[in-house]
Amino acid sequence: MSIQTIEDTTVKAFPAKPAEVIAFTAKARRRFDPIVIAGKLASALVPPAIVIALMLIVWQIACSSPTASLPPPSQVWNEAYDLIAHPFFNNGPQDIGLAWRVLISLQRVAIGFGLAAIVGVALGALVGQSIWAMRGLDPVFQILRTVPPLAWLPLSLAAFRDSSPSALFVIFITSIWPIIINTAVGVRNIPEDYRNVSRILRLNQFEFFVKIMVPAAAPYIFTGLRIGIGLSWLAIVAAEMLTGGVGIGFFIWDAWNSSRLPDIIVALAYIGVTGFCLDRLVAAVGAFVTRGTTAK
């Protein structure tokens, strides 16, 4: 019988502590092993390097005939060398390196996305928390979120009468929906037990928001932020093409008007790499902030 087995136990201490320590040091030593690190790096870098090289070769062959409409990689390298090699040159107001242009676009994204994050989390918390706010607002959100970014631009140009705030607004309105929706889902999924804990402790609304709701919904919030920053980077390039200025989007438009196709290709690479970095940045911040949160 099970009672018989329970009776004989008088051990109070919890074992297996030394084992833990040994395992940890062994792991730590292995982490700084240069051969292992080199192996990991190689397995991460070699396959994409091969794929990129193959793509460049195919592209070179496909575009090397004199009648080709697009430039091959060799031509891009030769004609746009200054853009590739000197991202930070500065020769006056309209002739600056691509890195500067990217930074200017990033600054816009930072403002528009920052506002969207604040407003989006607040609205999402409201929608997730209140059944009536959800019933009223959710259908509106579901319709508005399908409107393409550029469709907002004429309206915002008319409203703000200036291109700069219009671009910011387009970023804001593009990136806010996934933040709202994911935050709302996260808040709705807060386990009933956490709510009960907060009720027993009599936490007020603000304490509940800061101490329970935000940390509990953080994985969802960061999913929303990650989608949002991707969308806002999509929107800034498109918006800058139309509003002008010195951002990376306008650079592409300008290059198209002066038939500098190699410049466009270099700019595309900059945009892609920057978007990738933004995504990873938000993901890394999310992983840092929510460490331990998802574990049961």
Partner: protein, 265 residues
Amino acid sequence: MTAYLKLDHIDKSFARGGQVSEVLKDIRLTIDKGEFVSIIGHSGCGKSTLLNLIAGLTKVSAGAVLLEDKEVDSPGPERAVVFQNHSLLPWLTVYENINLAVSKVFGGTRSRAERHDWIMRNLDLVQMAHARDKRPAEISGGMKQRVGIARALAMEPKILLLDEPFGALDALTRAHLQDAVMDIHSRLGSTTIMITHDVDEAVLLSDRIVMMTNGPAATIGEVLAVPLARPRRRVELSSDRTFLRCREAVLKFLYERHRFVEAAE
């Protein structure tokens, strides 16, 4: 002398759609200060609902819960709950989890140093001081439940409510925690209500065992006093006549007079 906790003719029904289902009917019970009372019954008999009513997490449909002659209508730290699945916040360490409760309940009345000492006292009480900086995911199920108990005790509750606290634990860990709860109860004399479906656990820990009839409209079928002297030792009790008699009485109630009929409707 008036009762410390009084459940006064409590009814509880849930309305779903147009249907009203009666869960609890005419619950009457008084509990004295320092008493350890277990509530036992088959699953679905509404014992967790009863605990939630005492905690104030759900509202009574009729009747009243009176604690020191004051009506209970909302949850509060003076009726601390230890949840079945511990309900520790996973993003906080063991220490921070208890600190959340302590700084909310005693933030205005005790200094920071006093609060720190109080948290460590409660961690010591459940022998978890060594894990103060661990997160819930890093400790075992039994340890989590210990921390859950420490968090509840740290609120200095008038009544400690245990909602099947050991249900999810293996038999050995459960025995350790039962001993810990007995030890704490004898040291602090805290009034305790425990929901359980383990007959041995109920007899071992309780001063009185409240046996619930089956739902719907469950009510208290019988209340059994356990006249065993404290401190109780499980090894000695296993052959004790009073222990066996109490155990038999509960078993008879549960399996002869109120057998659980699954899906009777």
